[in-house]
């Protein structure tokens, strides 16, 4: 009941309404711009949330995530260029519908499916997070250490490319996290006499460098041409009627189910969910032959799924403090910069924040529907702006936002260095997410590792003696062994082919 009151007070607060509306607007526009992923849109906003109240900041970041997933479908349908990875499945039928002169209908299906998916995901988030958090209350320092390792192992092994590269990126992230003053003894580590490094390398600087600056560098290196939408080809968004929605209930149910199952799995994310739900919708459709030829089910199923994921992906982040994707890692960053540690204690220490966040995300989904109806024109205008102006504005925004955090020139150098490192990682096909996760989880992993050994006079067996910790360590080992085995099998198969 208290939770409901917290959520209600959030949805009736004008600051939260403003944060949700602003976040959704920024998210839709960011998602509509090919090259700005939901995580980049969130990262660009992160520096601005410093001076906001924690709840306002978190609702705004969560709303960007929600808005961006819908925004990604706009260029996917209109110019066959998904604005986000998760919108790639929408291209298949959405663009065909647009060619058939039904682009407005496709956008309406995407918006409605996304709103339904988002609200469904939110119900799951609100019901699953508390029981899982209660489970996490049984965690002791060895269990937290094992949980951190498990999170990192999963992300490293499911990352694109080789598992070894994923693990190397994770270790590099942990190494970065050791820079600065040791929280236990107070001695300095790897600061090279630079006072600006005493507080360590802030993950926001690395996130903006690795995501935003490196993305800009990749775009310039690839010399991507501008894809333009002819403004006269889409007059307005056409919302589906209730009877139409009812006729598409099977595809929506599949999208909801797939999003519910995929969302909490670290590394899976909206992209896997949208393709999987597209496939399943085709398998269960009465008209599978229509898929690829402008099927309405082919648009609504993936769009529903990827918006369910925007909520269900938050389950492990809020319950255990372990993010499973770039976007949730940035949301975790939003918690940390306001001195909040997601996990079981948050329900007892800051229930207003958690339930307020649920309320705020509910508002964001409703706002997405309302703003989505009117934003089409400005979004098309924005997609049609020459890319050089966009590149310049992004870099100016990154630098200005970063400087505003600490008023520090040194931070700008760190962002540039992180951008260069992020670009090199991309070129060499090393995944960036394990690096970010290592940096974000570094403190949790190290402090719990050392605390555990302090309690047991240095006996490493502690990690296998505690039940929860032993289970999590076992899971981490299984994940790594399975990952290595999968790679070995792929290697053998290719060798004998």
């Amino acid at each position: 009941m208290d939770g409901f009151i917290h959520a209600l007070s959030a949805v009736t607060s004008w600051q939260i309404l403003l944060a949700a509306g602003g976040g959704v607007l920024w998210g839709i526009l960011g998602g509509a711009l090919p090259g700005i992923s939901p995580s980049i849109a969130m990262a660009l906003l992160l520096p601005f949330t410093y001076d906001m109240s924690p709840l306002m900041a978190l609702v705004m970041l969560g709303s960007v995530y929600i808005g961006a997933e819908y925004g990604g479908s706009i260029p996917a349908i209109l110019i066959r260029t998904p604005g986000t990875n998760a919108a790639a499945a929408t291209v298949i039928d959405g663009y065909v519908m647009h060619q058939q002169g039904r682009g407005g209908e496709a956008l309406g299906l995407s918006l409605t499916g996304g709103t339904i998916g988002g609200l469904f995901g939110l119900i799951l988030l609100a019901t699953l997070t508390k029981p899982l958090s209660d489970l996490a209350l049984m965690f002791t320092p060895p269990a937290y250490f094992a949980l951190g390792l498990l999170g990192l192992s999963i992300i490293a092994s499911v990352s694109e490319g080789s598992m070894v590269k994923g693990l190397i990126a994770g270790v590099l992230g942990l190494m970065l996290a050791t820079v600065g003053t040791d929280p236990l003894s107070g001695v300095t580590r790897f600061t090279f006499g630079e006072p600006e490094l005493l507080e360590g390398v802030h993950f926001i600087l690395v996130m903006l460098g690795v995501f935003a600056v490196a993305e800009l560098m990749s775009k310039l290196a690839d010399n991507e041409p501008d894809d333009l939408v002819k403004p006269d080809t889409v007059s307005k968004l056409v919302l589906p009627s209730l009877s139409k929605l009812w006729s598409l209930r099977r595809a929506q149910a599949i999208g909801c189910a797939v999003g519910a199952l995929e969302g909490p799995v670290p590394g899976a994310g909206g992209t896997v969910a949208s393709f999987l739900s597209y496939n399943e919708a085709r398998r269960w459709s009465k008209t599978p032959e229509q898929f690829g030829k402008g099927s309405e089910e082919g648009v609504i199923a993936p769009e529903t799924a990827n918006n369910v994921v925007t909520a269900t992906a938050l389950v492990p982040t809020l319950s255990f403090g372990i993010p499973g994707s770039n976007s949730t890692a940035i949301l975790l960053g939003g918690f940390l910069i306001h001195g909040l540690q997601p996990g079981p204690l948050l329900f007892s220490t800051n229930p207003d924040i958690l339930y307020g966040l649920f309320g705020g995300l509910f508002v964001a989904n409703i706002m997405m529907f309302l703003i989505g109806i009117v934003i089409l024109g400005p979004a098309i205008w924005l997609v049609n702006r020459p890319r050089p102006y966009l590149n310049a504005s992004i870099l100016a925004l990154v630098f200005s936002g970063i400087y505003s955090i600490n008023n520090s020139i040194f931070d700008l150098w760190v962002v540039l260095a992180a951008g260069a490192i992020g670009y090199v990682l991309r070129v060499l096909k090393f995944p960036a997410l394990p690096l970010i996760l290592g940096l974000v989880l570094g403190y949790m992993i190290e402090s719990n590792y050392r605390r555990s050994l302090l309690l047991t006079q240095g006996d490493h067996a502690v990690f296998f003696q505690n039940g929860v910790s032993a289970f999590l360590m076992g899971c981490a080992i299984v994940v790594l062994v399975l990952g290595a085995y999968t790679e070995f099998r792929r290697f053998r198969r290719e060798a004998t082919a």
């Binding site: 001695v187 560098m217 008023n407 006079q457």
Partner: protein
């Protein structure tokens, strides 16, 4: 293949340097059983082992490709390294570095205008009245947003000193 072997070597060297750095961390009684150097040393060993694993994986892949009838490498793997593309990407860092160096001297407004015009031109837009207006408009927009609305004390640079001196 050679490139990835070189990367493995670089990572191994990094692991070694990181170990030496960890070894040089001052010891403290407050550090607990493990000490401030405990995890860093563990990470150095892990990175060393993983870099060796990467080298081994690369060598095995290369051996597999040399076998008769082996599947050819994907086009993306065999294509010549796009050095000009990488150089162009690194140009962004160069422009960024220029901005950071100029920021305390020229101040925020002028620096951000120069940044906007530089990135626009670098992205392939020919300098014109339109790009000039974009830079000036953008500079004013960012100045109003950060300095006036968000109250961020961004560097004013020499111009502020000149004007205050004149006044």
């Amino acid at each position: 293949m050679r490139g990835m072997l070189a990367i493995s070597g670089v990572l191994f060297a990094l692991a070694l340097a990181y170990w030496l750095g960890a070894d040089a961390i001052p010891k403290s009684r407050l550090g607990g059983m493990v000490g401030a150097d405990g995890l860093p040393k563990l990470l150095a060993v892990s990175l060393g082992l993983l870099s060796a694993g990467l080298a081994l994986q690369t060598l095995l892949e290369a051996r597999k490709r040399r076998r008769p009838g082996a599947a050819p490498l994907p086009a993306s793997e065999t294509a010549d390294t796009d050095w000009s593309g990488h150089a162009k990407a690194m140009g962004v860092i160069g422009i960024g570095a220029g901005f950071v160096l100029l920021l305390p001297v020229l101040g925020y407004v002028v620096s951000v205008m120069l940044l906007l015009i530089a990135v626009t031109a670098y992205s392939g837009r020919r300098p014109s009245v339109q790009t000039g207006l974009f830079a000036v408009g953008g500079g004013i927009f960012f100045y109003v947003l950060f300095v006036h609305l968000l109250k961020v004390p961004l560097p004013a640079g020499v111009f502020a000193t000149l004007f205050s001196g004149a006044a």
